[in-house]
């Protein structure tokens, strides 16, 4: 064993691989890095993108060493599978060690759900599949060609799918870059699909590496094809993101008994509860002066269309919370706006400014409003109270449809 270890190139590459994976992890983007799930997913992506191609290359290198030794022509007492196992064990252990170091150093949070646990284990499977695939390639191609094909091929197959369509193809590789924000969780379909593909490649690689019999090679190819088809079917409902909506049962709700007002927040945002409570009270008071009353339930996740829904993030400032709450008061845009004309589009920005003013937070959209919208909003706010009510109610109705013309301030003055 000592001999195998000192002769294995993986033993010498372990530390550079750790450094490379840490470096890759440090520059990874996508998702809220304060969330444990995001860090677990990023650790897996770093292993899949940077460690797996190198391990595939090492697998091909080990195979080329055995080719050069002309082992096949000697009377070997061990089975081919045992030769493969002894040859690749240091490489696979090195890959697992790199994975463990990355997870201990960076992932921090322990998996809190079954998909996350599978995502946590996925890089260990990817390590095995990449190494075995590289080895099988190295047995069939000369090392001079097998090593670059293994490294570049694995890298391309891992990261290229995120640049092509259909979008769901990216979920088969384990290189996930779009998880997770606080209102989403990792999709079990995405992680299961990636695990199936990695397992399929590992089994096919082991079969190909341990035999040259045509029947077994055929079985490996057919088996891998079937696994790919099944995994594709599993993830084909997903879009570009490997996420699904977070269950609203995770929300932590507190209800004021006197007023009946309820505030529901994700556990990660509990430290914002005081600020949000205060801002929403100010807005409710201000709107009450206009005889307007927002829904009693203020919540982050979508629970019902009757709720006042908003979204924020962990380090939000009070002005960002004000803006988020006012955005939650705006009418929802109808789905038909993607199909064609939307006459009410000219008043959506004005409506935001007017609602912000009614809510007592006129600065909420100050920096993002266009000059035309600001001028029109000023005209609206200069109208009499009765005319403002007509403008407000007419345009709330117009914004909800794609065939109603909006009412402008000049129409009422």
């Amino acid at each position: 064993m000592n001999h195998t270890l000192t002769k294995s190139v993986a033993a010498y590459l372990t530390l550079p691989l750790v450094a490379l994976a840490l470096f890759t992890f440090g520059s990874a983007s996508g998702g809220d890095s304060a969330i444990g799930a995001t860090r677990i997913v990023q650790a897996t992506a770093a292993i899949a993108a940077m460690t797996a191609p190198v391990l595939a290359g090492i697998g091909a290198w080990e195979a080329s060493r055995i080719r050069r030794s002309n082992l096949d022509s000697l009377g070997v007492a061990r089975t081919q599978l045992e030769v493969v196992r002894r040859s690749l064990a240091p490489t696979i252990f090195a890959g697992w060690f790199v994975t463990l170091v990355i997870q201990l150093a960076r992932a921090r949070a322990f998996p809190s759900s079954l998909p996350l646990l599978l995502e946590f284990l996925l890089p260990y499977l990817i390590v095995v599949s990449a190494t075995l695939a590289g080895f099988a390639l190295g047995q069939r191609l000369h090392g001079a060609f097998a090593i670059p094909v293994a490294v570049v091929g694995t890298w391309l197959l891992t990261v290229y799918p995120i640049a092509i369509e259909p979008l769901w193809i990216r979920h088969l590789t384990g290189y996930t870059t779009s998880c997770c924000s606080v209102e989403t969780v990792l999709s079990w379909r995405a992680v299961t699909g990636a695990a199936m593909v990695a397992l399929g490649i590992a089994v096919a690689g082991a079969l190909l590496a341990s035999t040259r019999e045509a029947l077994r090679v055929f079985a490996a190819a057919v088996g891998l094809g079937l696994v790919l088809a099944a995994a594709s079917y599993l993830v084909s409902d997903l879009g570009s993101e490997a996420t699904q909506a977070r269950p609203t049962t995770d929300l932590e709700c507190v209800q004021e008994e006197a007023s009946g007002v309820e505030l529901c927040l994700w556990p990660e945002h509990k430290q914002l509860r005081g600020m949000i409570d205060q801002a929403s009270d100010e807005i409710r008071t201000s709107l009450a002066r206009r005889q307007l009353a927002p829904p009693a339930k203020l919540t982050e996740g979508f629970t019902s269309s009757e709720a006042w829904i908003f979204g924020t993030y962990r380090d939000a400032t009070s002005s960002e919370i004000d803006t988020a709450l006012v955005v939650g008061l705006l009418p929802e845009l109808p789905p038909c706006i993607e199909l064609g004309e939307y006459p009410a589009g000219v008043v959506t920005g004005v409506m935001a400014l007017v609602v912000a003013d009614y809510a007592g937070k006129p600065e909420a959209f100050a920096l993002m409003a266009s000059e035309d919208d600001v001028i029109e909003a000023e005209r609206v706010l200069e109208l009499s109270e009765a005319k403002q009510t007509i403008w407000f109610e007419s345009n709330i109705a117009a914004i909800a449809t794609c065939d109603t013309n909006p009412v402008m301030a000049r129409d009422l003055s």
């Binding site: 290198w61 000369h142 001079a144 670059p148 290229y160 092509i164």
Partner: protein
């Protein structure tokens, strides 16, 4: 002379050159939309970064069945002969890049320029580490340049010469220096590493 040439697997070399030329014509100007790890905005990597590795692999393969000890102890000096193969491949890479780039208006010159740098690295690796390290050494440079060599807005780091545009003077300078060092090492008496001792 005939033995020397036969030992270097001319058929395999011809097949590799033919495959390289075919890839160069069909894919040489292509950019793969591969995301850079350091710069998510630099969403494309030229295929010319990887294509010339095929010729380096062929060069390494051609050294595999050579009896280096016999050649090192030959009566006739072989230093000039040792330059024939690298210089032949160099000529193929540069001429084909010029012709294909002129014909298609693409960025195939990058492939020719990158081969110059890769050849220098491969020859240095051959000298210091042995023939088996030739492709691996080039692969390390190309492999690090692809995902790690792009700064913000797709601008490559100075060391990542494979990613530089065809007209880049720093990249041309780096490749020229690497080639000169590699060729100079090739003209010297073979090292023990080269002899496989």
């Amino acid at each position: 002379m005939k033995w020397w040439f036969t030992a270097r697997r001319p058929l395999m070399l011809a097949q590799a050159v033919a495959a390289y030329l075919a890839f160069l014509v069909v894919l040489g100007g292509a950019e793969l939309p591969l995301p850079s790890i350091l710069d998510p905005g630099a969403a494309s990597t030229p295929l010319s970064v990887f294509l010339p590795i095929l010729l380096i692999a062929a060069l390494q393969r051609s050294q595999d069945e050579v009896d280096h000890v016999v050649e090192a102890t030959a009566v006739r000096p072989l230093w000039l002969l040792r330059l024939v193969l690298p210089c032949g491949l160099l000529t193929v890479a540069i001429v084909s890049a010029l012709v294909v780039a002129a014909a298609t208006g693409g960025d195939q010159l990058m492939a020719g320029r990158n081969f110059v740098g890769y050849l220098g690295i491969a020859l240095l690796a051959y000298r210091w580490l042995g023939s088996r390290a030739m492709t691996v050494a080039v692969l390390v440079v190309a492999g690090l340049a692809g995902p790690l060599g792009a700064r913000q807005f797709g601008e490559p780091e100075i060391w990542a010469f494979p990613l530089h545009r065809p007209g880049s003077l720093p990249a041309a300078g780096i490749c020229g220096v690497l080639l000169a060092l590699g060729l100079a090492q090739s003209m010297r008496k073979p090292s023990l590493r080269q002899l496989g001792i």
